[in-house]
């Protein structure tokens, strides 16, 4: 069963990865990439690394790809111009790919295959690896964890301090004022009988 699932997800992963680079529409490319991430996450789950799988979905699919889609949709990218130099750069691309293949095969040839295929120690002793990671992160690495959180806080402050501009000339909603409005600010009761007389 696991083997079947492995092949199914691997096939989807490879297929969507190919479609990412061949799709004509960049939005489709981004969506295929999301599919590829999902399949990779499923493969992680099959391996018992559920934390990695979930993080992949949460961070990459949930945040990075959504940002990517926004950028793709907002920028008017001319694909025809991007594809112009395809044939010119093809030899270079093939050469790079060849080097990659050679390197990989060199690794597989020289390294004992057993070490590469065997899982790096059994992960599960009845506890999930999310729990194991959490235990380590919040005890042993508490101090660096807190400093990392502070760094993120500084990054937020810096980003806002450097980019936020209040422009008085733009028309933005003053939500606080809208909520604080009272009936008497907007509604004036007029006695029509009096004025009609």
């Amino acid at each position: 069963m696991t083997t079947v699932l492995f092949y199914v997800f691997s096939a989807i992963l490879l297929g969507s990865a190919v479609l990412v680079i061949t799709a004509r529409n960049p939005v489709y490319s981004a969506l295929y990439l999301v599919l590829a991430f999902f399949s990779a996450a499923a493969l992680f789950l099959l391996l018992g690394a559920e934390f990695l799988g979930l993080i992949l979905i949460l961070v990459y699919v949930g945040a990075v790809m959504v940002l990517f889609l926004f950028v793709v949709m907002m920028l008017d990218i001319n694909l025809a111009r991007l594809r112009e130099g395809f044939l010119r750069y093809l030899p270079l691309g093939l050469a790079v790919a060849l080097v990659g293949v050679l390197e990989l095969s060199a690794v597989f040839w020289t390294a004992p295959l057993g070490r590469l295929t065997a899982p790096a120690g059994s992960l599960s002793h009845g506890t999930s690896n999310t729990r194991a990671l959490g235990t380590l992160l919040y005890t042993h690495y508490l101090y660096p964890f807190e400093i990392a959180a502070t760094i993120l806080l500084v990054a937020i402050i810096a980003a806002i301090a450097l980019t936020l501009r209040r422009r008085p000339e733009t028309r933005t909603q003053a939500i606080g004022e809208q909520l604080a409005v009272q009936v008497r600010d907007r509604l004036r009761m007029v006695d029509l009988r009096e004025s009609g007389k």
Partner: protein, 481 residues
């Protein structure tokens, strides 16, 4: 399993600054529009409180958070120095920031976070906490350099500093990862033990130390890794330059002590040679290029490079004596740099930066007292006897001669003579050149003026009685070696 909070009390000063920085942010959010000064005095309160808390830890020793935080006399001394310098920066910058619309909670909070990062670096007993402290400090600095975002020069300086700083962090991380690969541990103590039987011609170790030293040299601003320094110093608002020239230098020195003197003590032969090269290049480039500068901020930036060269001499000596004199040097240098840049802050007015050397023409006729303080600062930077700059240089040279590097000490003295030229030229302009047309308005932020007076007079007083600070620094390094 050991309770991770056993010695958490060692981190109390850090926790206090973190909490207070968040309080400053929140207070600024709610009351910042009406009460600008509230955040400022809260920041002052924060750093004063941190000094008290750090002083209360004096004499304690140990480690917390599984060795990721080391508490010893070195931590304590350097923490106190960093907090004091942070206070000085705050006092100097209030008037300057107000006039330029930069008197905001974010600036104060970023300064506090930067100080926190420096303290984390100083007490770091683990590659992880050292690196994270470094990044906390560096990120705050990148943002502060570019905070005057309507000025092209400031944003340009911020971007340059950011890109080169990221590169330096990469170099340092690469060195650290090699160290981890060699020893299988992130802890400073364990790395030191694992390296104790490493042979000196272990190539991986050499490469690792080269990367580590390059990263440290960049953060210190030693030549040939000083390219970012003049532009960042000149482009940043002067109070930020003031901060960059003071506390981070002590933190970078602490990084060198932890990574090289503690973790790599057995590989001293390797990093000693690297620091000889750094010292020679820094003293040469810093002192010679500074002669050609007409902008005082840029001149002081090159003077930083040359002073880092003198600091590196103390690290070269490597002995406890050498490191203690280097600590003394970096603390004294930070005080001189705050006074030097503080002078620029003090004399700046709305729409006018007193950053060109020609802006100081005839200062003595208009402001004799300020001119006298300038005299003290420049004498101290040049190393003229009654000031503390003299003792800092003497201590470093003495340690160097003891370690057997006589030729290097001779070279250092020669370079100090070259350096004296451009410091004294500023005094010539201030004392003997006629004042420009249209006298200066008698302005100047009084708070900055008082701080400048105290800071400059401290250079003189410490020069007359250098012994207490010297013993303080000497004791600080006792447990390290």
């Amino acid at each position: 399993m050991q309770n991770p909070l056993v010695h958490w009390s060692f981190a109390i000063p850090e926790i206090w600054i973190l909490v207070m920085a968040c309080v400053v942010l929140l207070v600024d959010l709610f009351w910042g529009q009406k009460q600008r000064d509230l955040g400022f005095w809260l920041s002052i309160f924060c750093l004063t409180g941190a000094m008290v808390l750090s002083a209360a830890e004096m004499g304690k020793a140990g480690s917390a958070f599984y060795g990721q935080l080391l508490m010893d006399r070195f931590t304590n001394t350097a923490d106190l120095a960093v907090e004091l310098l942070g206070l000085l920066v705050l006092f100097y910058s209030r008037g300057y920031l107000m006039l330029r619309g930069l008197y905001r909670g974010e600036v104060l909070a970023l300064l506090l976070f930067g100080t926190l990062g420096a303290m984390v670096m100083i007490s770091g007993g683990n590659l992880l906490s050292l690196y994270l402290g470094l990044e906390l400090l560096a990120l705050s600095q990148y943002a502060l350099v570019a905070i005057y975002r309507d000025q092209l020069r400031a944003t340009e300086a911020g971007l340059k500093y950011f890109i080169l700083g990221a590169l330096a962090s990469g170099l340092l991380l690469y060195g650290m990862s090699l160290l981890y690969g060699l020893t299988g541990s992130l802890g400073i103590g364990k790395i030191g033990m694992a390296l104790s039987d490493a042979s000196p011609d272990n190539y991986v170790l050499i490469v690792a130390l080269v990367f580590v030293v390059a990263g440290v040299a960049f953060k210190l601003g030693a030549a040939p890794f000083h390219m970012w320094l003049p532009d960042a110093y000149q482009g940043a608002p002067t109070p930020v330059t003031l901060f960059m020239a003071s506390a981070p230098k002590i933190a970078a020195f602490a990084l060198a002590v932890r990574l090289l003197a503690e973790a790599g003590s057995s590989a001293m032969a390797i990093w000693q040679q690297l620091f000889v090269a750094l010292a020679v290049l820094s003293m040469l480039i810093g002192n010679v290029v500074a002669i050609a500068q007409t902008n005082l901020k840029r001149m002081l930036a090159y003077s930083t490079v040359s002073n880092i060269g003198f600091l590196a001499l103390g690290i070269v000596a490597g002995s406890q004596n050498g490191l203690a004199s280097a600590l003394f040097y970096v603390v004294v240098y930070a005080l001189m740099a705050t006074a030097g840049f503080g002078m620029i802050v003090y004399l700046s007015r709305e729409g006018f930066e007193a950053e060109e050397i020609s802006d100081f023409r005839g200062l003595v006729q208009q402001r004799p007292w300020t001119a006298f303080l300038l005299l003290l600062i420049m004498f101290s930077l040049a190393g003229v006897p009654p000031t503390v700059g003299f003792y800092a240089k003497v201590a470093v040279f003495q340690a160097l001669v003891q370690a057997g590097f006589v030729w290097l000490a001779v070279f250092g003295v020669l370079m100090a003579v070259v350096g004296a030229f451009y410091y004294l030229r500023v005094l010539k302009v201030a004392f003997f050149d006629p004042p420009p047309e249209g006298a200066r308005t008698s302005g100047g932020d009084p708070l900055a003026g008082i701080t400048l007076t105290v800071n400059s007079l401290a250079l003189l007083v410490l020069g007359i009685v250098p012994a207490p600070l010297m013993t303080f620094c000497f004791h600080a390094l006792q447990e390290v070696m």
